[in-house]
């Protein structure tokens, strides 16, 4: 049985998992859907009440029935590198590929339906609340008056994009940023704005969840850091990530989150406050993990490989047999 990995060629983080699978002698087929129909071919036949299909990639032929698991890591847009790409060809190729893959009994990390829902930050916040994780007070609004009133109740706020996306014309980054106490909220009317009570943190936490395995890492805040350096991705790094134990109530909440979201993988970001409480910020359903593994030595790639290589449902009972989605 084969593990299928959908990702770009330059994805060296995926390489870390491919290496582990090779060591375990687990067959792997890897390709980027962007290479349909130039280098990647597919076929599926529906007849006599059955369905059979094949994928061909670089001389490798795999039966769709022979897929054990599918890792949707960083796939490109289907068929964008075809000889004559078009929006129509992309839609045709995506429908054919992902439609056929949905017909298999393979386990997904993560299922496209679960992944799509899990990307919505407003949904993440509510789902985290329901999972009994601590969520900072948050407002998403286009009402300037609501923003003003929220700021009066929560005077120390940060603002961040709702989607996590960054504008590209011209390319700009929008880090999580502190809102000035005298901010004018009138421009809230021109775009949904996510305001959140700032957690006065003593550390950032990245918790990587693979099935039922939780691997957490902690990076203390630089004591000399400026209070406006809120976003760990943009702040100067003075100390590496180190492994940290997961508090029991957080572990319970994270596992509830994964089950409810039907995710097999999630990279959770928390802010640890002065009392040691972990505040949920977000869960990236395809978050990076290589940088954490290299700092901490935590076996994240090996754990992903084990999950992908496992037969049937994982021991934690976390896979949705009806949809093929893991959680």
């Amino acid at each position: 049985m084969t593990v299928l990995i959908l990702t770009s060629e330059e994805d060296v983080t995926a390489d870390m998992v491919v290496l582990r699978l090779r060591e375990a002698r687990v067959p792997v087929v890897r390709f980027d859907p962007a290479d349909l129909t130039d280098g990647v071919a597919l076929s599926g036949e529906y007849a006599h009440g059955t369905c059979h299909g094949q994928l061909s990639v670089g001389g490798r032929l795999v039966e769709l029935d022979g897929l054990r698991s599918i890792w949707v890591r960083r796939p490109g847009t289907a068929a964008v590198r075809a000889a004559q790409p078009s929006a129509w060809l992309t839609e045709e190729s995506a429908q054919a590929l992902y439609g056929m893959l949905r017909c298999t009994g393979a386990r997904w990390m993560n299922h496209p339906d679960a992944a799509r829902r899990a990307r919505y930050k407003p949904w993440q916040l509510r789902h985290a609340q329901r999972s009994e994780l601590m969520v900072p007070a948050t407002l998403i609004t286009t009402f300037p008056q609501a923003a003003q009133e929220f700021a009066e109740r929560h005077p120390d706020l940060v603002v961040k994009p709702v989607s996590g996306a960054h504008p590209q014309e011209p390319p700009r980054a929008v880090p999580t940023s502190r809102v000035a106490p005298d901010a004018d909220f009138s421009a809230v009317a021109f775009g949904p704005t996510l305001l959140q009570e700032r957690v006065v943190k003593q550390a950032d936490i990245r918790l990587t969840a693979v099935g039922g395995t939780l691997l957490a890492a902690r990076k203390p805040v630089n004591p000399d850091a400026h209070p406006d350096d809120v976003d760990v991705r943009f702040a100067p790094s003075v100390s590496p990530w180190r492994p940290v134990a997961v508090p029991g109530w957080v572990a319970d909440g994270v596992l509830r989150y994964l089950r409810g979201a039907e995710l097999a993988y999630g990279a959770f970001d928390f802010a640890e406050d002065a009392d040691g409480v972990w505040w949920f910020l977000e869960c990236n359903q395809s978050g990076q993990f290589g940088f954490v593994e290299m700092d901490t030595g935590q076996p994240i790639a090996a754990t992903i490989a084990e999950w992908l290589a496992a037969d049937g449902l994982p021991e934690d009972g976390c896979a949705n047999a009806a949809t093929g989605a893991g959680c």
């Binding site: 890897r30 670089g58 990307r119 700009r172 880090p175 990076q288």
Partner: protein, 63 residues
């Protein structure tokens, strides 16, 4: 009018990084010029930041 959130935008850092490895379709792995597997060379990966949460990827917004 500009949305409130974009008041906090900054120019994206455009790093023109030339990666020293290339994809080997036979191995299904990226390989360095000396034949070593790129993923085993943590010094190179750290220098390039290719496994890091990037906060601004053009293609993937969930890092």
């Amino acid at each position: 009018m500009q949305p409130f959130t974009l008041n906090y935008a900054r120019p994206a850092v455009q790093l023109e990084v030339t990666v020293p490895y290339a994809y080997d379709s036979g191995l299904q792995l990226n390989v360095l010029p000396d034949g070593r597997i790129a993923a085993t060379d943590h010094a190179t990966l750290r220098a390039l930041g290719t496994t890091t949460s990037t906060a601004g990827s053009k293609t993937h917004f969930d890092d």
